[in-house]
Symmetry: C2
Subunit: 477 residues, 2 copies
Amino acid sequence: MVALLSIENINQNIRNLEYAVRGPLVIRAVQLAREIEQGEKKPFVSVIRANIGDCHAMNQKPLTFYRQVLACASKPELMETDHSLPEDVKTRVRDLLHACGGQSVGAYSDACGIELIRRQCANYIEKRDGISADWKNIFLTTGASEVVKTILSFVNNSRIDGQPVGVMIPIPQYPLYSATICELGMHQVSYYLDEERDWRLDLEELERAYASESSKCDIRVLVVINPANPTGAVLSRENICQVIEFAVRHNLLIIADEVYQHNIWADDAQFHSFKRCMSDMNVKSELVSMMSASKGYMGECGLRGGYGEMVNFEPEVQAVFYKLLSARLCSSVLGQITMSCVVNPPEKGEPSYELFINEKEKILADLKAKAKLVADTFNSIEGIRCNKVAGAMYAFPQIYLPEKSIKAAEEAGQKPDFFYLMALLEEAGICVVPGSGFGQRPGTFHFRTTILPQPDTFDEMMTRFKKFHKSFIERYS
Amino acid sequence: MVALLSIENINQNIRNLEYAVRGPLVIRAVQLAREIEQGEKKPFVSVIRANIGDCHAMNQKPLTFYRQVLACASKPELMETDHSLPEDVKTRVRDLLHACGGQSVGAYSDACGIELIRRQCANYIEKRDGISADWKNIFLTTGASEVVKTILSFVNNSRIDGQPVGVMIPIPQYPLYSATICELGMHQVSYYLDEERDWRLDLEELERAYASESSKCDIRVLVVINPANPTGAVLSRENICQVIEFAVRHNLLIIADEVYQHNIWADDAQFHSFKRCMSDMNVKSELVSMMSASKGYMGECGLRGGYGEMVNFEPEVQAVFYKLLSARLCSSVLGQITMSCVVNPPEKGEPSYELFINEKEKILADLKAKAKLVADTFNSIEGIRCNKVAGAMYAFPQIYLPEKSIKAAEEAGQKPDFFYLMALLEEAGICVVPGSGFGQRPGTFHFRTTILPQPDTFDEMMTRFKKFHKSFIERYS
C-alpha cells in the first residue's frame, strides 16, 4: 500500500519551517544524556543544556506562593485541611474558583479567559504604565506563542492573486517568528540589529529593510522584541518612540513581544512598554503587546500561561479576533491562574509577602549576576566577543571561526556555527543554539546561550567552554 | 488616525468562520445570567446552560484521584505533609515529576509531551485494542482541538494555482471542523448522517458526497466522529469497516475523533476504535485518532489535556509534523498529567481504587440515565423528535416549526432554529445550540442539547422546555 502522505504532498510551508531552539543539536543532546545514563563513557559527566529559556529545567525552584495557589485551586479541600496555607493564598483561590464554572478549574473558561484574571492583568498594566487599561482588551493564552500565531494568522489577508503579507522582524530574532511566518506563507522582512552598538535598533536600518522588500510584499506588521531574545538588549524610551513613528509612517501593526519585562539587568536599563510610549506620543495606532508566565523570575514555562493586550483596535475587528479564539474553546485554566499569580502577587502586609519577595529577589539577583558574568567570561576568551546582557535571559556572542573550520563545515554540508557547536556538544557536553537559527549578518557566526544554569553548573560550563574553544581553534588554525 | 485593520483587510477566512457553540445565543445567555444576578426580573430564576459539553460547569464534581495527583504535582511538599494522600497517588506523582525537567511541572516538556505519559497512552491504547501501540506515535496536546487544527493544517498543501484541499465531514458535525476548514481555506465536503436510521453513516452517502465535490477540490481527508457529537450515535464495527474501505478506495487520511470513547450508553452499543478495525482488516493506511481529558467521565475541560495517535505514517512525514509541534514548545504539563490520570487510573488493589471506581461509576450511571431520559422526554413533546442517545453527551432533536414562525424568523433576518431558540432563551432561560451551527438537511431544524445538567436542573429544564414549546407553537399556528 502506497502512503497517502509523502514529504512532497504535505503542506510545504510546514515542511520548510525551521525551529532551531528544538533542532538537531537538542535532539543529539538528549541522546547523549541518555547514553551517559546507560553507562556509556563520554569526555564529560553530564550534558549542560543552555539552549532554551527553561528556568525550572535548570533547577530554579518554583515560588512557594505560586504553587500554593495552584495546588489549592486544583484541590480546594486543602483550604480546610492544610493549616500551613497563608490566608492570602486562600482568599485568592476562593476568588478564582468563584470565577470558574461550577467553581472548578476543570470547567472551560470564556474563550478570552476568566474575567477576574483579565481584570487583574489590566490592573497590572495600569500600575506598570500609569495609564488606563481595559480588561476587555486582554485575552489569556497558552503561553505567548499562541498570541504570535493567532495575531499573525489574523492579519494574513494575502489572496491567491495578491502579494503575500510582509512581517518585519529583527535579525537576530526568536525563531517562533520566522517559523510562523513560514508556516502561514507570509513574507519575512528582516531588519538587522546593530551588533557594534549593543544590538541597538536603528531607524535607518528599519527604513532600508522596508524599502528593500516593499515591492515584493504588502508589509503590514512590525515585530519588536524588548527586552530582546536572543541579544539581551533593552530598548531606550527614545528608541521605542522612533520605532513607533516608523510604524505609523508605514501603517504597520506593532507586535511588541514584552515577555521579558521583569528581566532587566543593566543598571542604566529600564523597561518601557510600547503602550505607554504610544500614549505619551498621543499615537492611536494598533498594537498587540504580550506577556508570559514562562519568563520573568517565575519561569513557569510548563504551565503555559500568557496574555495579549490589544490596543487601539476597532471593536468589530477585535470581535472577529475573539471569535477565532472561541473555536479553540479556552487556554488552560491552571495556566490562566499562573498568570493571575504573575499579575497579582502578594502585596506588602499580606502573609505571603515576605517569603514571596525573598524568593523573587534571590532569583532576580542570581540572574543579574550571571548576566554580567556570562558576558565577561565570553569576552575573556580569544575569538569570542559578547555584548553586555542588559535584559532577558540570553547572551548572543559572536565567534570568529578559522577559515579551515568554515571549509570543513562546508565539506560536511553544515553551517559553520552548527559545525562548531556540534563539536562543542560532542566534546564538551554543552548544548547551545547556532546563530543561524536566529539569523545573523552573512559571514558572521554566533550562538545563543541562556544565563540560566545554576552557579556551580555555570562555572563548569564556562570552564569546559574555554577548554573546548582553545582546542577547536588550534585544530583548525 | 485611520485604523490599520478593518473588517475588510483582515484574514477573510477568519472573518467568515463560525463557531456556534460559543455564538450569539451563548453571549446573550451570559448577559441574562448577569442581569438576574443584578436583580433584574426575568420569567425564570436562573439560566440553564446546556450549550456546551462542560461537565464541571454543570456541577459534576472532579474525581478525587485526579485532583490529588494535580495538587501534589504542583506542590510536591504535600507528599510529606498531607498524610491523607494515598500511596499510589504519591508513587504516580514521583514518577511524573522524575520525568519533568528539574522535577518541576514548570519546565517545558518535549514538544510531543512527557515520554512517560506518551508511554502510558500507548499502554492504554494497547489494552483497549488488544494490538500494539508505539509511544513514539503519540503526541500530547492542548485538548483534542489542537490535534484537529494541526493535522488539517499539516495536510493543507493547496497551492496558489491549485485546487483547495477537500475535507469530508459529517453533517451534523462538531463546528470545530467547519471553522478550521474555513480558517485554513480548505473545502468542506459534507456527507449527511441518516437521521431516519439513528444517524447512521451510510456508504452510499459518502460516495455521493465524494462524487459531487471531487471536481471542485482535492479530497484528501475524511473526518469521522465516533461516538458522535452532536448526534449521540455510536458506529457499529461493520459500519466502521465500510468507512475504512471507502477511505482506502479514495486515498483519504482518516481523522477519527474518538474523544467520547468512554461515553457509551445504549446496551447494544460498543466502542470500536478505527485503529483496531483497520488492523483487523489488515489495512495499512494513515489514520489519526484523538482522545481528550475533557469528556469521558472525568470532564476536565479546563485543564486542556489531549493526545493524538498517528497510525501508519511514513517516518519522515511524521518527523515534519513533530517539527511543527516543536515551534509551540509544548502543551500544558498539568494538562499532560491530567491525560496521565485518564490513561493510567488506579488499578484494582491500589489504595485509590475503591473511591475512584465509585466516583467514576456514579458519574457514568447518571449520564446513562439522562441519555435515556432526554430522548424519551423530547419524544413526548409534540413537534419534537429525538433519536436515541447511544453515546457521547448530546441529543440532537428535530423540531417541526410552524410555517408562521419560519416567516417571522425570515422577517427578523434570522435562521428559523435560531429564532426559536432565542425565544426559548428569553422566555424559558434555556440555552442550547441551533442545528444550523452543526449543519442539517435543508428545510429541517434541530438543536443540540447536552445531557449534563444535574438531575434537579435537568427536570426543571425539561418542564420549562415543554411549557415554552407549547406556547411557541400556539403563537405561530
